[in-house]
């Protein structure tokens, strides 16, 4: 599992690659929390490289999304593989977080 981040148009983009499960969640959580220390309130998850997601990993993404909402900001997800999308769907979160096909669309959704 690998996490990288960059900023584009003042939007924080966090890319997660590999497998995000209960074993990799603690380090992912720590890394993302550190990234969120920068005072951003617009966050886009780029999940193109995310090969696997279980509820342990879902929690990490949700907890970051909640933090951004607490800051009255906006969150979106982009580039989801079908079975990653399904995990968000069966958990009921597709109704709460905008899901976009590409990073470009995600950035457009989060633009001021």
């Amino acid at each position: 599992m690998e996490i990288t981040h960059r900023v584009e148009n003042e939007i924080l983009i966090i890319a997660i690659k590999g497998r995000l499960d209960a074993a990799t969640a603690p380090i992912a959580d720590e890394t993302i929390k550190k990234t969120l220390e920068e005072n951003t309130n617009r966050l886009l998850f780029d999940l193109e490289g995310l090969e696997y997601l279980s509820s342990g990993g879902l929690r990490v993404i949700l907890s970051a999304a909640k933090e951004i909402r607490r800051r009255e900001g906006k969150v979106a997800l982009a580039n989801l593989k079908q079975y990653v999308y399904e995990i968000f769907e069966v958990s009921g979160f597709t109704a709460m977080i905008p899901i976009k096909e590409t990073v470009e669309e995600g950035l457009k959704d989060l633009a001021l």
């Binding site: 497998r19 499960d21 209960a22 074993a23 696997y52 279980s54 509820s55 342990g56 879902l58 929690r59 949700l62 907890s63 999304a65 909640k66 909402r69 607490r70 969150v75 079908q82 079975y83 995990i87 069966v90 958990s91 009921g92 979160f93 109704a95 709460m96 977080i97």
Partner: protein, 138 residues
């Protein structure tokens, strides 16, 4: 499809999730099951295994969790067996999904996901062991 059966054991440590994935990839290779199907199996066994490891044991000793996977015609049967405290996941209510993200309580999602991905689940407690059997029509 020809019938295939596989069984394996994992130690009660979350680092074994990687071993679980390796077992399932091998099973996918042998049976020719689709990647999507293997991923569904992986998620279900992962969620249950993670629950057992996180909440099933009151000591810090190493325990063994047993798995079987069976494909016969179009029926996939999974079992998972552990010696942890009695826990019937079928008695657990699905978490309520609120309308707003900020009200989401993070927890209890794993079993909800397993229920959605599998077609049938049954639980038995015998001789101090939990045994969960799941079926999926493929």
């Amino acid at each position: 499809m020809v019938s295939h059966k596989n069984s394996f054991e994992l130690k009660s440590d979350l680092s074994e999730l990687e071993t679980l994935c390796q077992h399932l990839n091998k099973f996918g290779h042998v049976t020719g099951l689709s990647e999507a199907c293997i991923t569904d199996i992986n998620i279900c066994l992962d969620e249950l295994f993670t629950n057992i490891v996180s909440y099933g044991f009151t000591d810090d000793l190493e325990h063994i969790i047993k798995f079987t996977i069976n494909v016969d015609n179009n029926v996939l049967t999974l079992t998972i067996e552990d010696e942890g405290i009695a826990f019937n996941p079928l008695e657990k209510k699905d978490p309520e999904i609120p309308a707003d993200l900020i009200d989401v309580r993070i927890g209890g999602l794993g079993i909800h996901i397993v229920r959605k991905l599998m077609d049938d689940m049954s639980y038995e407690r015998k001789r101090g062991k939990n045994k969960l059997t799941m079926k999926k029509f493929i």
